[in-house]
């Protein structure tokens, strides 16, 4: 194998890690079905493994993958049309709907797709457990087994939850769209609640697999970061800050024997200063926005604690002032 083709393979792998969720989000919108989109995603990466080492890496790998996935999905549906005439109509319908991003490589549309997907996964018409499972699976890209382990439910139960949620999205036609201004605050709150639930599952549970639990905290922070990047909102900043500030104390929270250590007794030199700095910056921004919600307020309280080098130095006056 030549160096160039080895490098192309490495690029396929790193693109999978960095971009597979974005490609999936766009495919879900274009194809209108989770399962068809997931199949198309895998077909697209299989095609990339085949073509990129030969043809070279395309200028816009993400647009290439979306395009390859979409064509293969339409091809599958058309082949099924030989047995069922309805599929011919579906294929024609999908083909007529050509997105600009596929041809023009316009990346602006892609972040919006992930946001659309988050809003569909966190739709209040789904049970909260289903929202959590579906968000982690589809937006976060975690496996069913990983999610099941973190939430201490059997994998088949979790798989069933995800299947039911996907069916409801399809049957009741829950749209992949960013809610209008009137519904937006309420819907953002629902998304934040799901993210915070994932964080708390990782943070406060005292049993279960340690590593998986830390992963849940990292995953919820990653989701909130993505949300903050896609949608400017003081409560999104507030939640991200709150989670960073809590998570900064991770190393100091648990004694060698697994017993939790209270805030007053923690070794504060173990606190993660980078997370604290980022948390404080975000909190300051959220407080300055003039629209201070419960997450920003909790983050502000956590920030005051994080700024104190000892428990005795905690500025209780400032906390009361909040």
């Amino acid at each position: 194998m030549t160096d160039a083709s080895t490098r192309a393979r490495e690029i396929v792998e790193s693109t999978y890690r960095s971009d597979s969720r974005r490609v999936l989000a766009t495919l879900v919108r274009l194809l209108g079905d989770f399962d068809v989109a997931e199949e198309a995603l895998h077909d697209a990466f299989a095609a990339a493994l085949e073509r990129w080492p030969v043809d070279g890496v395309p200028a816009n790998p993400r647009a290439w993958l979306v395009s390859a996935g979409r064509f293969r999905a339409i091809d599958h549906i058309r082949r099924r049309a030989r047995f069922d005439a309805r599929h011919a109509e579906i294929a024609a319908e999908l083909e007529s709907h050509v997105p600009i991003s596929v041809h023009g490589g316009d990346d602006d549309e892609i972040p919006d797709d992930r946001l659309r997907l988050i809003f569909a996964c966190c739709h209040p018409a789904l049970a909260i457990e289903a929202q959590v499972a579906l968000t982690l699976r589809t937006v976060g890209g975690l496996t069913t087994e990983e999610i099941a382990r973190a939430f201490l439910v059997p994998a088949p139960t979790l798989a069933q939850r995800i299947v039911r949620a996907k069916n409801k999205i399809r049957d009741a036609r829950i749209p992949y769209e960013i809610p209008g201004q009137a519904e937006l605050p309420e819907r953002i709150d629902a998304v934040l609640a799901v993210i915070y639930l994932i964080f708390n599952e990782g943070y406060s549970a005292t049993f279960g697999d340690e590593l998986t639990r830390a992963d849940m905290c990292a995953e919820s922070i990653r989701l909130a970061r993505m949300l903050a990047e896609l949608h400017e909102d003081s409560e999104v900043d507030g939640l991200l800050a709150l989670m960073l500030l809590h998570d900064s104390r991770r190393a100091a929270r648990i004694a060698g024997d697994g017993e939790p250590i209270l805030l007053d007794d923690q070794d504060r030199t173990l606190w993660d200063q980078a997370k604290i700095r980022e948390g404080i910056t975000l909190t300051t921004r959220a407080l300055a926005s003039g629209r201070v919600g419960p997450y920003a307020l909790q983050a502000a309280i956590a920030a005051v604690h994080a700024e104190a080098r000892t428990a005795a130095e905690t500025d209780w006056g400032e906390i009361v002032g909040l």
């Binding site: 309805r86 739709h123 018409a125 049957d171 009741a172 036609r173 829950i174 749209p175 769209e177 809610p179 519904e183």
Partner: protein
């Protein structure tokens, strides 16, 4: 896509209403009806007479059993419905949320099953 909006509320609320209050709610319903006709959502809808007028029928082993009242005793009863045409669930929920009954009781939104013949 079609959705059925089922309106559940406490029948006793209606029985306790003064004529003025009743008139106000009816006015809201009329305005809502005009509104969704204008927006193209409306397909059909009706208010139902109270459950005291209902009869339930079951056929078991070829034998017909007729009884009075609704199937189960619940706090809220089905009092009416709208059949609407909506783009998707969000559009349907936006319509259902404006049904005056949503403030008094609750509205269940169910997509209509489509059978392929």
């Amino acid at each position: 896509m079609k959705y059925l909006c089922l309106i559940y509320d406490e029948e006793s609320l209606w029985q306790k209403m003064s004529p003025d209050e009743m008139g106000k709610v009816m006015g809201e319903y009329n305005a809502f009806g005009e509104d969704i006709k204008a927006s193209g959502h409306f397909i059909g809808g009706n208010a139902l007479q109270p459950t005291s007028s209902a009869t339930t029928i079951r056929v078991r082993n070829g034998k017909t059993i007729t009884s009075d009242g609704p199937f189960a005793e619940t706090k809220e009863q089905l009092g009416g419905y709208y059949l609407i045409e909506a783009k998707d669930l969000n559009d349907a929920l936006q319509v259902a949320g404006r049904i005056p009954g949503a403030k008094l009781g609750s509205v269940e939104v169910r997509p209509i099953m489509v059978f392929n013949s």
